[in-house]
């Protein structure tokens, strides 16, 4: 009985709800009835929402949870909410694109498995659970992609290559933890943030190995080839799984390993700064240049995501020279992840709908979008500009122009600013190119007003527009700072990382 109570009050309660939904869905795994498929999708969506509700409820009732394997504080709740939100959106994309497919319910079950494994990763604190949940997450996402790409001859080869590459970071992580054991056994990750052995050689060596593993995990430059080629050949649902489940899972891992990466904070380390700054610049410039001539919307969006990851990397490089922000860098990772999702989820849905209408995913299919559909067109222009503006705001205003950053040596400050401004100008050129395309005359004038978007799409788009506009208003009146280290709930201040409360 006590064990059951432990499950109900702990972080596993939410996962139990999703597991129950999966169990029910298994009974309809081979059903071809559209009503059954819809009800299974609705059941799983309800279980995701129920899962998040239980997370929040347990947090409010019992406070932060800390066990042998897990640690769930306010940061964990925010990340869990983000993962559940990603899961709901992918479920929506799946229902929109694949409802008529015969393996729809099975894909939904695999999606739920993936969401559960990423949720486990969010709450994992002990190395045992971190390693296991990372590998299981990659495995379940690979299975989901394989299930979605059944019958797609073009993507088979590249899915195999994707699987081989994504298995490599898992081996590196295991090796990293084996080295870490040399510092006196495996402790919980949160312990490393506070203990005195942070600077010991095994910890520093394992930090470098973890960083390499994450770099490979994200397919950052120069390893981007397979990621771009695979995305180009998949269906839109698979692209969404990669963009909004695989990449956020990696971001969760980056935030999880923050105590290790923060080892270098405050230490003047020229080589560390140079390596990370060069890699960050490579990603920013590569993504900015690579998107200029690209025509495929999936390729362009992938480049935009690589740009976001480059921003995360450049933000980290500032920590090496003490030019970094006063707040933990993980705060900015969370902010950048939320901005990424808010801007790219509707854009990927637009790409999906345009792709289905035109038969290919060329950006030129969206030419004249504002003349055909003024409301969605203006929304997309706004979201694209908002995305870039939010990036600049977080990096410059909250990162480089704050606190101790201003007292750092000017040369490093100038290098970081120059690289970021150049990359942003490149990306602005991409955004202007897309917006100009929206304003031009449609390729086929007789199609004006004839092709309508689904009604649900308007509601979906309005939701994200409101979210973006609301954040702008709050920032303008000084009630919300993107990239703050604390949030206010019902008059109480909760610090996202650390024990500020």
């Amino acid at each position: 009985m006590e064990y059951l109570f432990e499950i109900i009050r702990g972080p596993y309660a939410g996962i139990t709800v999703i597991a129950a939904a999966v169990l029910v869905s298994l009974t309809a795994g081979f059903s071809g009835n559209i009503n059954v498929k819809l009800s299974m999708a609705a059941l799983n969506a309800a279980s995701y929402i129920g899962c998040f509700y239980l997370y929040v409820r347990n947090f409010i009732l019992y406070g932060p949870y800390s066990g042998f394997l897990t640690d769930l504080g306010i940061a964990g709740i925010i990340l869990s909410g983000t993962v559940v939100f990603c899961g709901l959106n992918i479920l929506f994309f799946l229902s929109l694109n694949r409802i008529s497919g015969k393996n729809f319910v099975r894909a939904v079950i695999l999606l739920s498995f993936s969401v559960v494994s990423v949720l486990l990763l969010v709450m994992a604190d002990n190395a045992v659970l971190v390693v296991t949940s990372v590998i299981i997450s990659v495995l379940s996402i690979f299975n989901l992609l394989a299930s979605l790409e059944t019958g797609n001859m073009h993507s088979r080869e590249y899915l195999g290559k994707f699987g081989v590459r994504s298995a490599l970071p898992a081996a590196l992580l295991l090796f990293g933890f084996s080295v870490l054991a040399g510092s006196g056994g495996i402790k919980n990750i949160s312990v490393y943030a506070s203990t005195g052995d942070r600077g010991s050689p095994p910890v520093i060596l394992s930090t470098c190995i973890f960083a390499c593993a994450l770099y490979l995990y994200f397919f950052l430059y120069p390893f981007q080839g397979i990621f771009l080629r695979f995305i180009r050949r998949t269906g839109f649902t698979s692209s969404a799984v990669l963009w909004f489940l695989y990449i956020p899972a990696g971001m969760v891992l980056v935030i999880k390993f923050s105590p290790f990466f923060d080892l270098f904070a405050g230490k003047v380390n020229l080589y560390g700064f140079l390596i990370i700054a060069i890699l960050g610049s490579l990603n920013l410039m590569g993504a900015g240049l690579g998107a200029i001539k690209a025509a495929s919307t999936r390729r362009i969006l992938s480049m935009f995501l690589l740009f976001q990851l480059g921003t995360v990397l450049l933000m980290r490089s500032s920590v090496f020279m003490d030019t970094g922000p006063a707040l933990p860098p993980a705060v900015y990772d969370v902010a950048l992840l939320v901005v990424t999702l808010a801007a790219f989820l509707p854009l990927s849905l637009l790409a999906s709908i345009m792709g289905r209408k035109n038969g290919d995913d060329s950006i030129f299919g969206a030419q004249g979008l504002i003349r055909r559909h003024p409301y969605p067109g203006i929304c997309f222009c706004f979201l694209l500009i908002w995305w870039l503006a939010a990036d600049v705001y977080i990096f410059m205003s909250k990162g480089l122009l704050q606190g101790k950053a201003l007292s750092a040596p000017y040369v490093y400050w100038i290098i970081l600013s120059a690289v970021f401004i150049t990359a942003v100008l490149l990306m602005a050129a991409n955004v202007i190119r897309i917006i100009t395309l929206f304003f031009r005359k449609p390729l086929k004038a007789d199609e004006v007003k004839r092709d309508g978007f689904p009604r649900v799409f308007y509601a979906y788009l309005t939701l994200f527009m409101l979210l973006a506009a609301f954040s702008l208003v709050l920032v303008a009146i000084g009630e919300l700072g993107m990239g703050e280290d604390h949030i206010y709930i019902w008059g109480k201040t909760f610090y996202i990382f650390g024990n500020g409360n």
């Binding site: 045992v128 390693v131 195999g160 298995a167 084996s178 040399g182 080629r229 180009r232 690579g290 690209a294």
Partner: protein, 113 residues
């Protein structure tokens, strides 16, 4: 051999595996290189569990669960690759798994499907 020597040995194995992964474009060679990396990890786990923290169950559980899940992932990927290639393609299918891709289309312009 003392703790330090065994650790250096595992690091040598690790660097050999990294070198293998960087230079090979063959699937089998790639997986062999990965196996060497896993072997280096196992050597480290055993070395530290015997000498630094004898009797630490956490370390053993991490090693066993890590290896089990990793081999499961590896098996899944290999099974997918080989079940999606016919017998004529099998020889050719194991090529092209180099970690770097330096084709122009990966950096600039469009990739033809």
């Amino acid at each position: 051999m003392d703790l330090g020597t065994v650790f250096y040995l595992s690091m040598v194995l690790f660097f050999i595996s990294v070198l293998g992964i960087l230079i090979t474009s063959d699937l089998i060679s790639f997986f062999i290189s990965r196996q060497v990396m896993v072997a280096a990890a196992v050597i480290n786990f055993l070395n530290f569990s015997l000498r630094i923290i004898p009797g630490d169950n956490g370390l053993r559980i991490l090693m066993i669960l890590g290896l089990l899940t990793m081999y499961l992932l590896e098996f899944t990927v290999l099974f997918y690759i080989y079940s999606n290639t016919d017998s004529i393609q099998k020889m050719a299918a194991s090529a092209g798994y180099g970690i770097f891709s330096l084709k122009k289309s990966d950096w600039w312009g469009e990739d033809r499907v």
